[in-house]
Symmetry: C2
Amino acid sequence: MENYKIPKKSVERLSIYKRILKGIMDAGFTTVSSRELAERAGLNSAQVRKDLVYFGQFGTPGMGYHVSILHRTITKIMGLHKKIPVALIGVGNLGQALLSYQGFKERGFIIESIFDNDREKVGKIKNGLKIMDERNISIEIKKKNIRVGIITIPSSAAQSAANKLIKGGIKGILNFAPIELKVPSRTTVVNVALCEKLEMLSYYLSKRKLL
Amino acid sequence: MENYKIPKKSVERLSIYKRILKGIMDAGFTTVSSRELAERAGLNSAQVRKDLVYFGQFGTPGMGYHVSILHRTITKIMGLHKKIPVALIGVGNLGQALLSYQGFKERGFIIESIFDNDREKVGKIKNGLKIMDERNISIEIKKKNIRVGIITIPSSAAQSAANKLIKGGIKGILNFAPIELKVPSRTTVVNVALCEKLEMLSYYLSKRKLL
DNA sequence: TATTCCTTGTGATAAATTTCACAAATCCTG
DNA sequence: CAGGATTTGTGAAATTTATCACAAGGAATA
């Protein structure tokens, strides 16, 4: 709502609150306090309230927040109430896993086109979609008006694929390749740092001499 | 090295520096400045120096850092120079993708046991490993002295699997389930928040009215 | 209705993280 | 070897993020 700068961390936590609210809602409760939300998320209750206030005043003193209303509100704030057509670049192991991943569909991210640069794969059918040649990314996504691309190809090819997505007018990229993609400022990139997470785990175990 | 508190963010960036150093090394360069590293990582050069100094003094004024030495040092700091036996809990789409994922093997994470609670799957072979019943997690990982578990099952079953891992003496868990696992303090959990990343992307696009 | 109990929203404070800026160290050139 | 050009490591300052603490609003009870 407000146009102040909202901390990236707050946005990330919004997602967590939504998940917790879903659980509380399914358990049949109608209201929840910031204290309870904080406890379940492993945070401070003031932080929960501050985070929520960035987006509006949803609480009632003495009572807390209305679970289903807050859940619906967050869903809307995050734009998760609409369907979003998505293109998948890279039909390898990870790509295929994401193709079958229910979490994407549940959130309205509908994979409509899939690409690979492996001659062996192009033309084959996966989950009802024909694998297309990466060279056709720009044309295809422009034609289908696809807004989001998911990149699951090796780093070496990731930038080139990103360029094709951008040429086709992509708005956002979910990038699984361990590389900092160079994109124009109008394009939003969110990186999923799989390797980094793994290496962090290794570090913490190593530090405690547990390996 | 030091026992001061090292910011979690610095540890995460260590991983990024390592990746960049690898690229510079492969390109044939022998030294690199903090300015160059910062530029490639999209950071401030003072930050790069501060991050590195947490672990020791690796640079030479006027020259910068020795690429391959720094790379090797970071690898060692992160404990990535040793092989780590890993158990995979959940041989679904994501689990199978990780099973074939080279990134794990490259970093010394060797998947040695795989589990699922689906009767249909138990007993089948995947990537040369027999899928075992989740009820045997504790015994099996204790027997094989497995230190790390990767959880790729739905949230509803994740805590129960984590408990079995802990009972078997697991040291670290890489958790893909969107749930805050409750574990004793001696166990390190690193969460991979796939859904949250996706939702963040949705939020940023939605905010800019791009959906 | 009055009173007590909760819980929100928020200004103030504290803590963590990032950036600035510069002395000191080293390299490189002539 | 002198002098200029770099680049590190690091205090200090700035910025960002998290926590505290409390007035004010509303619910619940009697």
